[in-house]
């Protein structure tokens, strides 16, 4: 069971790395979906069938909403400014730190795998949240941060009760809806989710900022 848990936690972390590193919207969405679907399974014992189903439905709905937000005139995003290897290493470091500090000083009621996945996701969200000017990337970072906090909470307090899972499902869907709303508005306004400046698409498909002035 712990091997499976660890594998799921690694999968969630990889999903996060893909989500914050990729430039192609569909690949970003794939990473977000992996993280959203995998997160509720990183718990021991697993949540009951009803809360688990609620989280999965919420993950599907959230992914669909994010897809709506990113498909409008889908401009290629900026992706990670430091590249995917750096993001992956940072996530790995966070994973190890989370695994090693399980319980944060007191006996933990949940598995170490959820702490590891939570810390990995939290590490990954720093750059998108602090430095992102791209609304979609910022939104993805905030959703991952919410997932990270829920995973750390599972590691500290054990598997949440059904109502908490339902509330978390609602918040994940709500945040995805708001991110999608902002992304659609931004795309309609400027044809870009990166603020007022238009970015020409290079031959490789990567977004390049226009020079100032």
């Amino acid at each position: 069971m712990s091997l499976l848990l660890a594998a799921t936690a690694i999968g969630v972390a990889i999903g996060g790395v893909v989500a914050v590193s990729a430039r192609e919207p569909r690949v970003v969405l794939l990473g977000m979906t992996i993280a959203l679907v995998g997160a509720p399974f990183v718990a021991d014992p697993l949540p009951g069938p009803l809360p688990l189903a609620a989280r999965l439905v919420a993950a599907s709905l959230a992914s669909y909403l994010l897809w709506i937000g990113s498909r409008a005139e889908a401009p290629v995003g900026r992706g990670s400014t430091v590249g995917w290897p750096v993001e992956a290493l940072a996530a790995a470091a966070g994973f190890v730190v989370g695994w090693g500090t399980i319980g944060l000083g007191a006996p933990a009621l949940g598995p170490a795998a959820s702490a590891a996945a939570g810390f990995a996701l939290a590490t990954l969200t720093v750059l998108p949240i602090v430095f992102a000017r791209d609304l979609v990337r910022l939104g993805h970072g905030l959703i991952l941060l919410l997932l990270a906090s829920s995973l750390i909470r599972v590691s500290l307090g054990g598997t949440p009760v059904a109502l908490e899972e339902l509330v978390m499902s609602g918040v994940v869907v709500g945040m995805s809806a708001v991110v999608a709303f902002l992304a659609v508005q931004a795309a309609e306004l400027s044809g870009s989710t990166d603020g007022p400046r238009r970015r020409p698409i290079s031959a490789a498909g990567a977004g390049v900022d226009l020079p100032a002035g």
């Binding site: 944060l104 007191a106 609304l135 906090s149 899972e165 978390m168 709500g174 709303f181 306004l189």
Partner: protein, 566 residues
Amino acid sequence: MSVLFFLVVSLGFGAASLMTRRYSASSFAIGLVGLLAAAAAALLITPGDSLDLADSTIVGSAFQRTFLALACTSSLLLCLLSMTGGWHPDLAGASLVALGAGGAALALGDPVPAITATIAAGLFGVIVTVSFPATTRAVNIGGRELRAVAIAGVLGLLAAAWVDRPLGPLAAEPVVLGLSYLAIAMGVAIRFGAVPFHVWAARVSDAAPELALPLLMAWGPAFFAVVGLAWLNTALVPLAPAPLALPMERALVVGVATVTLLLGGFAAWIQEDIEHVVAYSIVQDAAFVILAFAALDGASWAPALTWIVVFALAKSAFAAWALAVRRRFGTRRLRELRGWARRTPLLALALVVIAVATIGWPGVASYESRMALIRLTSEGPFRWVLIVGAIGAVIYYARLLAVGIGSPGAAALNARDDRPRWPAGVERRLRDPSAVEPARGPAERPKPVRGRPTGADAQPRGTPASPWSPWLDRARRWLEWARETGEPLLRDLAVWSRRSGVTIATGARTLPRVIVPAIELNQSFIAAALVLALSLMALVGALGGWGTASLSAEGPRVSTAIDAAR
């Protein structure tokens, strides 16, 4: 069960309103009906009424009933006011969803899902921030707001998750308690836009419509503050009894509150745009909520609850006042508003009431609650600094009034006054009973002077036309149809009434031709009356009405769902 009914009503109507936002008038109408129904449902909440739901419990409380009923009523009045201009089609729906999520947060017994629900309460305000029609700047500001809401919520969530479990020897570790305490207190400071976290709030005040400010900066964060304070009092205070514990952390929180109090007041004083004055006054008054966290003492609970109710009501009224003034005079610049109070005594009275409700005087609930919070968190000369900051709010209210009673400028001269008006035909009939021609169509509007639009007609660039007109047109058609259909009946009724000596029924024939134009003509007067109603709601709260006095008497052990569930 009563709580669940409120949640179903508010979240159901809110979701329906937001999902039909493509049809803006219908969406807004659904939202208005929903707010009315939610206010009624909130009044039906029974304190102590619990319901087991999904392995947990939701519980009703007196504070929840009062707070939600006032929030729904206030939002309803704001939405009605928005129909006179500066409206936002998503305001009603977003308010409903936010209040529903906030209601759930107050009802949940477990702090972690309660804090999670407060994140949802803040999320939908972002939709309102992105003004209609959206601009690039507003969308970017919406992103900033989303970031503030999410980060504040995650801070609170992690703090609660860390401490809300068997801690063992860690319970005596001041670092753990200090970090948890700072996380929840700073989360609340971020949500309220306290200095130095005020940048997002300042941007929001630029982008969001005036009427959205109470939802974004007062009601939404207030849910988070109440849940956070309840958790602090039940989880941390027993572990760290004041004043011995966490002196550095508490000093930091007091410092944030003090800086917010002084700089917020100063910023509100020097602003030229009245919407910015409203925004910074909200930031300033939120400092007392942060002071409640600084106290780290169960005694802060009662005054904090009282102040939160008064604060949210007063700031709703202040935002409504700002919209009504901008709508009436066609500008938000203070230097262009000279003489506004001479033109509209109703709005001047409303501003005085708002100032009185906010500042209060010794013996009044709003004043005493703030002084209690100051006493709990300060001593010596520093206490006087906080007291001066608390009373200093009078400066910007006085400035607004001073500008208002000055010699009227062009905007004041061109705006219409507060007097209610009759449609032209009715007015002619009132003056000359022999005149028989009734009013047809909308009544005459005052013509602009010197090329400026009159206040009620002034429409800022980018703001859609008020939804009032299409609805009034429909209402006029319906009333005309009803009149034509019921004409024979009315004629018979009139004949019967003349024969029987009852003459009231004859007046009914003219009503359709009077009511609609009268409403259309008196939008400014109606707006001023709504602002006055909101400010009076705040005053009643400040005087200890709305049950705020009894809420204070309940104490922290029985007045929250969190305690009740435990």
